[in-house]
């Protein structure tokens, strides 16, 4: 917010520097924002994402800005805002922190809703309060703060919401170009997800061909942030086990039909992406995907182990602990959970647990795979030659 007296001439779009906090559901929608902004003429080099979360970032930039005690993925955002406002060599013009209400999930249409966590959607309002409670820190830094409310799973509504939320930040913005840019954003996001799913399929096909075990991580998208998920999966990968993230699991029709066809025919579910058999109130997008991830892991033989990550004080994950564990373990798949992740990496215990996990995998993976293969229907599309 600039002082009312003499507004400086707006930067041309290609000069506009836009900062985006790399937090929460930005982790699974960042391609949308890049596609959207680029289509509006913003130079991608001028889109600045804050760094990965770290305690240092919080200390340096977020101190004294917190307004409430809650889960770390939300608490740490003050540090991200602070880094973008106070920690840039080249000043930003805009801080863009969307309030994402719902998500374009691959389960959309098969579940009740795809809402974000109430803390995720409201976090920008909460964090903003820490930057305006004494003085308006954004205005003082000459940064326009914009926080559009956006329902990313309702594409018809998105142009209206983004036009209303962004027109003060993007010079000369029109509704029509917002709509075109939103399309570009969705396209970019789709292409990115498709690419990653294709890669995951290659990994699975390799595992099937070689009869080798892989691991699946079931977590929220922001557990990919090294400061939130503490790279536990990287430690495991170092032992040579391929890692799949549930969010980017291949969803090709042949594979889905093989994995879920029996359940559909038995009337437990209506489609491969239906989770009513395990989770009737399917309102929350990331939660739905977590439950679905557990189901798919239970059905794919080469996923010998599931790693569940959860942040300390996560209210969304809490009711899912038992169902997820049960879904995975009932299928004979190994299940390990890192449940109370917070700001500091619990290095010692992670090391011990990683050793335990790899020990179990060495010992039991082959048996798990063969038992799961025996329980699976014939004609696995991952092994066309079989």
């Amino acid at each position: 917010m600039r002082s009312a007296g003499s507004p400086p001439p707006p930067s041309p779009r290609n000069k506009l520097r836009i900062g985006i906090p790399r937090v929460l559901n930005l982790w699974n929608t960042h391609q949308f924002w890049m596609g959207f902004l680029t289509s509006l003429g913003v130079d991608p080099r001028n889109v600045v994402f804050s760094s990965d979360t770290s305690e240092e970032q919080g200390r340096q930039f977020g101190k004294g800005r917190g307004t409430v005690d809650c889960c770390y993925p939300v608490k740490c955002i003050s540090g991200h805002y602070g880094e973008l406002v106070f920690g840039q060599k080249q000043k930003l013009d805009v801080l863009l922190s969307p309030m994402i209400y719902n998500l374009p999930s691959f389960l959309s249409g098969h579940v009740a809703k795809t809402l974000t966590c109430p803390r995720v959607m409201a976090a920008p309002e909460n964090i903003k309060a820490g930057f305006i409670k004494e003085q308006d820190a954004f205005a003082e830094a000459g940064i326009k703060y914009v926080s559009p409310f956006v329902s990313l799973d309702e594409p018809r509504l998105v142009p209206k919401q983004l036009f209303a939320g962004m027109r003060e930040a993007i010079p000369g913005l029109t509704y029509e170009e917002t709509a075109t840019a939103a399309d570009a954003g969705f396209r970019a996001l789709r292409e990115f997800s498709d690419r990653l799913r294709k890669k995951s399929r290659e990994v699975l096909e390799w595992c099937a061909r070689e009869d080798r075990a892989c691991l699946m991580v079931i977590a929220r998208p922001y557990h990919m942030d090294p400061g939130i998920g503490h790279e536990i999966e990287v430690d495991l990968q170092a032992y040579g086990y391929p890692i799949l993230w549930m969010q980017y699991f291949p969803i090709d029709a042949d594979l889905m039909d093989w994995a879920f066809g029996e359940d559909i025919r038995a009337g437990h579910i209506k489609s491969a992406f239906d989770i009513r058999d395990v989770w009737p109130s399917s309102y929350s997008s990331n939660t739905n995907e977590i439950l679905w991830g557990a189901k798919v892991a239970a059905r794919i033989p080469w996923i010998a182990c599931v790693i569940r990550m959860s942040s300390y004080e996560c209210g969304m994950d809490q009711p899912t602990y038992t169902p997820v564990q049960q879904i995975v373990e009932r299928s004979g798949t190994l299940f390990f959970s890192f449940q109370d992740l917070d700001s500091t990496k619990p290095s010692g215990s992670v090391k011990i647990r990683v050793e335990t996990i790899t020990h179990y995998l060495e010992k039991y993976a082959a048996a798990i795979i063969s038992r799961k293969k025996a329980a699976a229907p014939p004609g696995c599309p991952l092994r066309p030659a079989a």
Binding site: A129, A266, P319
Partner: protein, 502 residues
Amino acid sequence: MATVATDHYRAYAPRPFTRAERDSTTILFGGLHWRIERILQAVLESSGYRAQILPVATKEDLLTGRETADIGQCCPTSFTTGNLVNFLKKESTGIGVEEVNKKYVYLTAGSCGACRFGQYHASYELALRNTGLEKFRMFLMAQDNLDQNMGDGLDLNLPMTLGCLWGIFCTDLVQDLEYQVRPYEVLPGQTEAVVKESIEYLYQVFRNRPAMSTKRSVLWHLTTPYFARALREVRRKFSAIEVDRLRVKPKVKITGEFYLQTVEGDPNYNIHRWLEAEGAEVYPAAITIWMDYLLRIGLQRFEDYSGIEKHARLKLALGRLAQGTYRLTVNRLRRAMGNLPHETPSQFELRRLAAPYFHRNLDGGEGDMLVGKTLWSYHKKKAHMICELSPYSCMPNTMSIGAMAGVVGRYPEILYAPLEIKGDAEVHALSRCQMILTEAKKRAQREFDDTLQRTRLTEAEVRAYLQAHPEMRKATYLIPHDGTAAGTAAKLVLHVAKRMGR
């Protein structure tokens, strides 16, 4: 370890509750306050069901809830799950698990939102499984539909739904008046007795509502003088209470998460009674306002889709009409109570006030309404202090409390007490509340003294005037609120001054 796909984990799916079981099965429910629970019981019974209210949740229930479900629950979930489980366990010792499974079903509210309110089933389910009650039938009534697997045992038809709605309106009005009267009653215990009598009277009123068809029920509820007449009778009962409204008391508005602001008991440290005992006048949170908020949130979808979706404008117009009718009905009933209970704030006003701090579409809990209600009370001098009940580990509530930092930064004079309610950390929460309450008391006293000074009256003169006007000492005498004072005593002085021509 599973060897065949059919062994896969499946969620709890209760055996349906059938029509044939109606006469032999009791519907358990609870989790609100005793007044509305009693009336809901009347509505259920008058529709041909057996209904039983669960006891108010206790600390023991909290512990059971924590033990039987996954760790890290918000405290309302722990209280409610533990409450059900303990009740069922106790019953099972008497009549056995089999019989309990046959004899009872549990009906509770869920929601269509993403917070745990919408995921209660998981906690209940786990708690029931962990206590060997996995066959017990529990049904979640979401805000937009009834649990799909319920069966035809419970027919949530329109006459019954409207009965519940009108029950909420009436009990909200009674509760509101009760809290305005009790701190000032001359004869201790009289208000309590009148309220009990009034609720029992309303129980009969709702129990004996004429049976009617679905079609007729809407028109009947909207036009009948039946409920207004009943509330006039309640008002008559209250008029027997003599009050001394010159007792200077801070007015404390309760806001917060729905369950905690509604129940009265261990789950919220009995905060209503505690505040009263500490010398405050409590301004309770009406369920009517929460439902008005839900209506507003629902209609915002059509606002957003106007110009995008066919018929969105028409649906919005119809929705607004329904919301207008809702408010008109509440106001009509309030009039029957002599306009004594507080008015229902306009949702648009709350939304406008909250807008700079909290987006209107952020839902999942009470959203922008918490911020809006605080600012509304502050600007309109509706209360000296806000006591916001925030459940430990609640997701939406932590967010609006966080946003309140911006509000308090802008209006540092607001006395705002967000209390984290864990269920078993009473001393900590209450002492925090006590500190702010002390300040509120000072404010109420200052306001009273200033009002006397401004009106050039002494307390003795006001007392003498009241002595000469016995109707003004009745609990049902209306003292107008002109927005210049929040305290009841100060408002009374202003009113007396006006009557005396000062």
